[in-house]
Amino acid sequence: MTLGKLWRRNLRYHRRSHLAILLGTVIGCMALTGAWLVGDLLRARMNALQQQRLGFIQYALTNSRFFTSTLAQRLATELDRPSWTVVPVVQLRGTVILRDTDGRILRHQNKIQVLGVPPEFWKLFAAPVPDLTGAVAVNQALARQLQLDQNALLEIRLPRPSIIPQETLAGRSIDETGTAWQASINIESRQVRTLIPAQQGGAFTLAPQSEEPYTVYLPLDDLQRRLRDALAVEAPANVVLVGTTEPQSSVEVSQLSEALHRAVRLEDYGLKLRIHHSPFQYASLETNRLLLEDELTQVAQDVAQELQWSARPTLTYLVNLIWSDDWPVVLSSALGTLAHDPTPLQAMLCWRMCYTYVPYLTVSVLDPSEDAPWGPFYSWNGQRWTRHLSPGEILLTEPAADDLWPVGSWQARLRQEQELPDVFVRYFVESSGWLLEEKTARLRVAGVLSWRGSAVDPGLTPEFPGLRGTSPADWQPPFPRSQWHPRWIRGADDLHWRRYRAAPRAFISAETARRLGWFSRHGQYTSVRLTTAAATNLDTTTVQAFAKHLLSKLDPQRQGFRWRHLRAEAEAAIDQGPLRMFRWLFLGFSVFLVGSALLLIVLLVRLQLLRRASELGVLSALGYSRGLLNRLIGTEFGIVLVLGCLAGIPAAVIYAWGLLLWIDKRWPTSVTLLSELSATEMRQYLLSPTLIAGWAVSVLAGGIALIWALRDLRRFSPRELLLGRFQAEISAAKPGHSRLRTIAFLLFSSILGLLIWVSGLRAAPQHVPLWFFASGGIWLVTSLAVVAWVLRQSKPDLVRHPWWLALGFRFLTRQPRRNFFTVTLLALTTFMLSAIEVFYKSPQSQVFAKESGTGGFALLAESDIPLPIVPKDLADWQAILGEDSAERLHNLLDALQRGQVHIYGFAVRPGEDVSCLNLYQPQQPRLLGVPARLRDRGGFRFDKVMPALESGSVNPWLALNATAASSDAIPVFADAHTAQWVLHLALGQTFPYAGESNGRLKLRLTGLLADSIFQGSLLISEENFRRHFPQHSGYAFFLIESSPEAPLEEITRCLESALGEKYGFSVRPTLEVLGQYHRVENLYLQTFQLLGAFGLILGAGGLAAVLLRNVYERQTELALLQALGYTPRMLACLVVVENALVVLLGFAAGLLAALVSVAPYLYIVGNITEPLKRLSIILAIVIGIGSLSGSVAIRHVLRLRMLALLRRE
């Protein structure tokens, strides 16, 4: 016999109790380590996905404009790192179409990533180079989605990219028929030759996204050929990928930036220096964007000054029509509108009879009084023109004057020193609508220049891809067909075009141009003309020297180039993404669970000690010192604890694993977190320090709990122990023992709770979990303090109350301490369950309810290519689908009419999904422009709107247009979930948003939508959208309203078949979208509730243990009661009452704490009944478990013979 043997004996003898403690420890350790591990695993898995997505890619050079792909080679040379691969890529979005043999569309898929890649691209993924000549490759995700096999034939539609800012006149990209806003590039049937697995570049995207991308790969040169015309760039690319297979090799962003600065050429900026020899030698700096940004103009002028060159910024504008006097207009308006669509007869009339107009001529801004080299200019009569042009004046040239007035007549007038009649110019101004805004201005004629020398200068008009052909009638200006009138063009215009190209035929001063509104926000000038001081010896070398100097002055970053460290971005997106919140919350709830486990351990240890009191007493009498007893008992429980924690580790691994698998299974979109985890990755996670840390922390926490549980041992009286009780147990039972202290404590904790609650209301969203748990904790403590007080104080009168209540309550309050433990355990569980329960979103079943998440819209649609207008009637449909589609349209319109369909179109600035479906932190959320029509219609439910706006108006949508006087921030709406969990924004907060061309916009969150289909985007008003994002024209997001009896499926089919091919239009039911969001949100909640369920197990365990102990202790009491005539059933009833009281108290305390702390974040108060219903079910379950353990206990007692028990005393 040794002490060690005694331990073993003890462990064996009390094995059942120890086993219970062990189980508690296992669950506690599992919860703690598991929570940690879940976070780690998720992170690791997402990292692995990122690894897969990026392959060996480190950096990407992006530019919203296209540049020449040879930049990549130059970069590689400048970077001079042989182990690094630099690959130019074209990345676009598009639609793919799969047809059957008869040419009917089988399936189509929009939002496809179209990549033009060179063979080196595959090196970045260590993948074999697929042979793509004349074929395409698709990634496996797309193949799966479209059920493609190899050799399938795919058609690809790409929105034709444009490099010219779209709101500028020349920037509108319009298809050949002039009916679509944005032309598309069609790549006809291509064979799918290779399927690219995710590990071999199939997962590549620039930004991390949760869903696997759908990608089509084309040979780079092939795609470039398609784009060349549209872009006026020889071999265009918009992304350069930089990576290395050597893990040690690293390159800094600064090195890359320097290399870029050295490698970049003017053409990469879309600039060129054109050399002109006539009328004198000069070079003009032009851009393929047509308008030179003012900054560029300035830099060019500065460089010219440095090099002592002469520079003249120049604007040349296309005027639609110029005429003299207004009588032709009077005439034409009598005949019909000239401006809009003159009939050939009208045009002929004007031309034949009057000769008084010139169509489509260019007008330049310059100063005709200049000397050489920019002048001189001569008047028609040969005199040198010396006067500056005044505002409101136009200086015509001879050809223009000849066109406006009968030849000879204007000369005669001028000779008589009479003024020529005023002329009218009609021109387009920048506008965002489908139809261009046309303006007319009346200008005084300053004179007529002789058509020679400096006046004849085609170089004044920059090169523009649309200006080609043998006649101006062949031009392809980016105007809507209805606003382009080639019929106006006369023979004289053809002649002029052929001889002088687009040489300007009139001049105005800069001031006049400004007044006419010709200066664009994007740049005032179309070129900077440059020449050496002597205007001679201007050859390629001198121009190249100028170019070099200019390049050194241009900052690539300011020209739209951006180096993105994709790896760092991915890491940040993971670390700052929803995962962080999830980890926090999960850990927070787990802490509650761990707390429960610790409580249970303490409870069980104490109960066991109590049972062993006399054992301890006799050991003490036999001379075992306190220290020794402490060590004896401590070691005994310590062994259990350490073993429990050891067993908790594999349990944690299984638990974390199972949890992730479960999440994987239930995630609505195809995101795979675990299924592709490799063995090495596995091993890595399983050996992670997390497990050791989790074990250590569990042991530590358990140890502290143990010390606390054993603390009564420190001040025992052997005599009391021998009597089978602890001194503490007796003193705690003394009533009225610290009323003052209780009241003081309650006061303090409720004030603290209130403070935390109030600060939680205004806490930054990302700190909400912290406040929530703090508030939950403090309110739990407070309500439990009340319970403790009740347990101590209340002694229901035996006479006045029913016997079962009075006796039950007596039973309850007899052991206040241990019952309090059980109450606390149950309160913790209830808190966890109910705090989560109220956030559950039940599926919305009413699609047509206007004030709901669907806003009453049944369908939602998106298109790859924006629709120029939102079609309302036949004419609109014809406008977007072409007039030849009349046949098809009738069916469509019929169907739509039958369903009484209204379509609401939203402008879209593409960006990242900000809904709960996105697992990564979005950098650039998608933005929708809400049409005024929707604003007026109203609908959707709001969680909160800015208070100032809420009071006055009934329609919260008006807040989108309200601009606060104090700030220039754009009002924006977001879904409450998005704001809270994804963007971490509070109502009223402003935040930056990347605007056009490197601009930064400020958005202010002015409204929170409750549980809506807009979860994936931010909303601003269409007016603001058009103002700030002019290059995203048209409508690409749609909500479709229909009458409830409308055949939704038919409408969907109609719309998709009509618009799917041309615009990449796809329709989804709104309920499906909303349901997907709900599924994810609820999935998160379910994982948290899983913890609550574990808590429930712990609580039930505690409840059972206490009940068994209570019943055991009261055997004699119960025997006596039986002797006094109480039936066994009545005794059972007493036990059940006691147990129900414990459960109810615990439940009330937990529920109260949960409701109070959740209240600030409860978006939908109307929905509280549903959760309460489920909560009461949980309550019933808990009471059921309690009663079950109670009845087990009572059966145990009733098995003992009563009289034997009595005699023993």
């Binding site: 004996r9 003898y13 054992e615 006799v618 009498a621 001379g623 021998l722």
Partner: protein
């Protein structure tokens, strides 16, 4: 002061014990004097609540006295630092309670050995001694049984063997026969007296039974917190 040679035996001087209760102090013992020589056995009688147990617990150093001294072989254990009291108890005092308080998880033999585990008596010696003691109380055939398998009298005899395992100077028995029938009680007391005599220790026994008390050389009665020698 000249150190006096320690007087062997138990000397109690002016021992008082007062419990401070919320309702007021309860004076249980009010000045007890007692001398017992080694090898002597005394019985203490008294009505319930008179303080017999309290007195024994104080003698056994399980509770401190309010005032007065207790000398065991000339040494006042309460002068020792608190943590040494347990050691003193282990070495010099043996307890027998009304309840046997055997560890249910240990065998008879092991139960006897429990006090020896924590001092430096050599293990084999203790084992042998335990066997002898159990033989003396007539349980040599029960060495490896568990307490649950014994009768009440047998259990009490194990407790007696346990009390003597460390060769104590003082054995305190608080109503050791309270739960036993007459026959068993007599056996137990006889055994106890034999053991005391053989081992030369002091026995202080509290009992309600005059029959049992009569077997002792000296009988004291405890009332009003005082100890009175009963004339036989």
């Amino acid at each position: 002061m000249i150190p006096s040679t320690p007087t062997p035996g138990l000397q109690v001087r002016q021992l008082t014990k007062t419990y401070i209760m919320p309702a007021g102090p309860v004076e249980v013992l009010r000045g007890i004097d007692l001398d017992v020589q080694p090898g002597e056995a005394i019985a203490i009688m008294g009505p319930s609540g008179s303080g017999k147990s309290t007195f024994l617990y104080i003698l056994g150093t399980l509770e401190p006295p309010s005032s007065g001294t207790v000398l065991v072989d000339g040494e006042d254990p309460f002068q020792r630092p608190a943590q040494d009291l347990a050691q003193f108890r282990n070495r010099h005092i043996g307890f027998v309670f009304q309840e046997h308080y055997l560890l249910p998880q240990c065998t008879v033999w092991e139960n006897v050995l429990v006090p020896s585990l924590i001092n430096n008596i050599s293990r084999p010696d203790a084992a042998v001694r335990a066997r002898q003691l159990l033989e003396q109380v007539g349980l040599s055939h029960r060495l490896h049984h568990y307490p649950a398998e014994l009768s009440g009298g047998e259990r009490q005899r194990v407790a007696m063997a346990r009390a003597l395992i460390n060769k104590p100077r003082l054995v305190l028995a608080d109503e050791p026969t309270g739960n036993l029938d007459r026959q068993a009680a007599n056996t137990v007391v006889s055994l106890l007296l034999d053991l005391v005599r053989n081992h030369g220790v002091i026995l202080v026994l509290a009992t309600h039974s005059l029959e049992i008390a009569r077997r002792f050389a000296r009988i004291y009665e405890l009332f009003d917190g005082q100890l009175h020698l009963r004339d036989q």
